[in-house]
């Protein structure tokens, strides 16, 4: 493979053309006569000028410097990097789905509305909730949407509740979403088993508690066995229970947040429901609620009148709009296709396999890495690099060493309550051979730490680039290409 290190701007040449624009078939308009001078661009935007082949080679080369699930195992805990089905991609590209405008008359988009309506129903069943909104476009946005409904709910009852409780193992979006929704976050310490400490919780729950945000299983991969009691404590104090659906892959068809006592749920379709991560997005974060929160759902809502699908914005207590149009339709469509592909037995087997794989992998790795929690895990588990740290090698170093073997490392340094944390989520779409091969590489790295730590400390060795200076990137940020800066750099280095 030829090494390629150019920016698209660096291979541009004035006059090159990458697409063909038709000639105008109507009269010419001189923009200088149409618009005031100061509102006309004085200089063209410096976009690239390349031929179509140059464009294709450029992006092909970039893709070759990227690692996706299709390239190899991606055991990122909390991200559920499962296979992204290709049928979903085909469906999303059908002209009947991709070439429709959101404001077309509803009679002209009944197929699209049917998909959305049925998806709402199915996600409600899967989560044990009474109604679902598909508007939020990511988990974090779902959280915020849920919390805004919590706020409206309490306000309607004439109560000002300002606090949201989260466990110390919570994902960063939880307190951030709470903050953006105007709440104060209170952190509850976990007990020595990594679970919510019921006594600690009771101390902190009160009349100013708006909600407790939990994920179950939690970010350590452990099921909160006392969830029913936890729900009772919170409800007794008048608070609501919020389910962060990041770990839903562990419970499909086995239990539902509704049964556990949760009042609001968000799901990450780009995790549990196979919609592709896309390098960081787009995603979708639908939110489900129990009946008492239905009045606050965002509008418009997708409803069925007889055999016709309609949009209804006539809900005076709704929190309003949270996102444009009806949500990320293209993503929702992919999730719909996946749910149809799997059906009820399939989804249950997804969770069963995911949990089996995680427990298997953990037991294979336990002799070599510190396992802070020894009970059965669900779809993910945490290990600590503390043994290796004593020998001078950190989790970060081991993660970089994994890159040399073609693996994306697990999640590192999260959750915060485990030292030198590694969070591993194999998912159900991997074969046993993959799990075994990964285990063997991890074991070999543990051996390297003891016998030849240098090779781990200086990893990665085989990737296109070595460890990058992130300090410099943050101290003197260069956040765009510019011709002038290139000239400056050359002067400085010469």
């Amino acid at each position: 493979m030829v090494e390629y290190n150019e920016l698209i701007f660096e291979i541009s040449r004035p006059g090159r053309v990458g697409s063909s624009i038709p000639d105008s078939d109507v009269d010419y308009v001189d923009i200088n006569e149409k618009f005031p001078k100061h509102l006309i661009r004085d200089e063209p935007a410096e976009l690239p000028e390349v031929s179509e082949l140059q464009l294709v080679r450029h992006y092909t080369a970039l893709s070759n410097k990227n690692h996706g699930i299709d390239n190899g195992f991606y055991p990122l805990g909390s991200c559920t990097m499962k296979y992204n089905p290709k049928i979903n991609e085909d469906v999303a590209r059908l002209e009947g789905f991709s070439r429709i405008h959101p404001y077309q008359p509803v009679e002209t988009v009944q197929g699209a509305l049917e998909v959305l309506y049925e998806l709402q129903e199915e996600l409600a069943v899967i989560t044990g909730m009474d109604a679902v909104t598909l508007q939020p476009s990511a988990g974090a946005q779902g959280e915020w949407t849920g919390l805004m409904m919590v706020k409206a709910y309490h306000a309607q009852k004439g109560e000002t509740r300002t606090k949201v409780l989260v466990p110390d193992s919570a994902h960063g979006t939880n307190p951030a979403s709470a903050s953006v929704a105007g709440f104060q976050t209170i952190t509850i310490p976990s007990d020595e088993n990594g679970l919510v400490d019921l006594e600690e919780l009771k101390k902190h729950v009160g009349s100013d508690t708006a909600a407790l945000m939990l994920t179950n299983p939690n970010t350590l991969g452990l099921f909160e066995k006392e969830i029913v009691e936890i729900a009772q404590v919170v409800h007794k104090a008048g608070g609501l229970l919020y389910y962060d659906g990041a770990n839903a892959n562990a419970i499909l068809g086995k239990t539902t947040p509704g049964q556990m006592g949760f009042d609001i749920v968000h799901l990450n379709l780009h995790k549990t429901f196979t919609t592709p991560h896309g390098g960081g997005g787009p995603g979708a974060g639908p939110v489900g609620v129990k009946e008492k929160l239905i009045p606050y759902l965002p509008v418009p809502r997708i409803e069925k009148e007889g055999d016709k699908y309609v949009l209804n914005a006539n809900y005076s207590h709704s929190i309003g709009r949270v996102k444009g149009y009806y949500g990320n339709f293209g993503i929702l469509l992919r999730a719909y296709t996946y749910i149809r592909t799997m059906g009820p037995e399939g989804l249950r087997q997804v969770s069963e396999s995911a949990v089996l794989h995680a427990n298997y992998l953990r037991k294979r790795l336990e002799p070599y890495f510190e396992a802070p929690y020894l009970q059965i895990c669900k779809h993910e588990f945490v290990l600590s690099g503390s043994r290796q740290k004593k020998l001078g090698v950190r989790t970060l170093d081991m993660a970089k060493r994994l890159l040399d073997f073609g693996y994306h490392p697990p999640t590192i340094y999260f959750p915060l309550n485990v030292e030198e944390c590694l969070m591993i989520e194999p998912t159900e779409t991997e074969s046993k051979e993959t799990l075994d091969a990964f285990a063997e590489v991890m074991i070999s790295i543990a051996k390297e730490v003891e016998e030849n730590p240098g090779v781990v400390l200086e990893a990665p060795h085989t990737t296109v680039i070595g460890r990058l200076d992130e300090v410099q990137a943050a101290r003197q940020p260069i956040l765009r290409y510019s011709k002038e800066e290139v000239v400056e750099e050359e002067t400085v280095t010469s």
Binding site: E470, V471, A474, R475
Partner: protein, 131 residues
């Protein structure tokens, strides 16, 4: 007139306070703090003439992996800000007690100095934290 401190005083938020002339003090973060933060990439100081209040946030210090609030150890008005830090925030890592100072404040309530820890007390405080 308060007596001049013979050495630095410290807050529980790991800031040091050095008394200059009169009611003027210089403030920075301790060696313990700079180690905990790691490589510092940016400092957001208050502006000159800003009012600061004891134990309230007056800015932030950013490293690659963490951002820390800067809590003012005293109340008063900001009279000078260390402008060197804009181009070289790493000075704080290298010289936390000297060239890495952050701001100088004209205290409005000098008695607040008495609530701060002296060197021994701060040493004990940081040792506790490490256990």
């Amino acid at each position: 007139m308060t007596k001049l401190l013979s050495s630095f005083r410290y807050s529980k938020e790991h800031e040091w306070v050095q008394q200059l002339e009169g009611n003027r003090v210089r403030i920075g973060i301790s060696d313990y703090a700079q180690k905990a933060l790691g490589d510092i990439v940016f400092v957001e100081n208050p502006a000159i003439d800003d009012e600061v209040t004891v134990n309230e946030s007056m800015g932030t210090i950013e490293s690659v992996k963490a951002v820390s609030e800067l809590y003012s150890p005293v109340s008063g008005t900001v009279v000078t800000v260390n402008e060197e830090l804009e181009g070289a925030p790493e000075t704080i890592n290298e010289h936390p007690f000297e060239a890495g100072w952050l701001v100088e404040v004209e205290m409005s309530n000098p008695e607040e100095l008495d609530s701060l820890l002296n060197e021994d007390e701060y040493q004990a405080f940081t040792n506790e934290g490490e256990e």
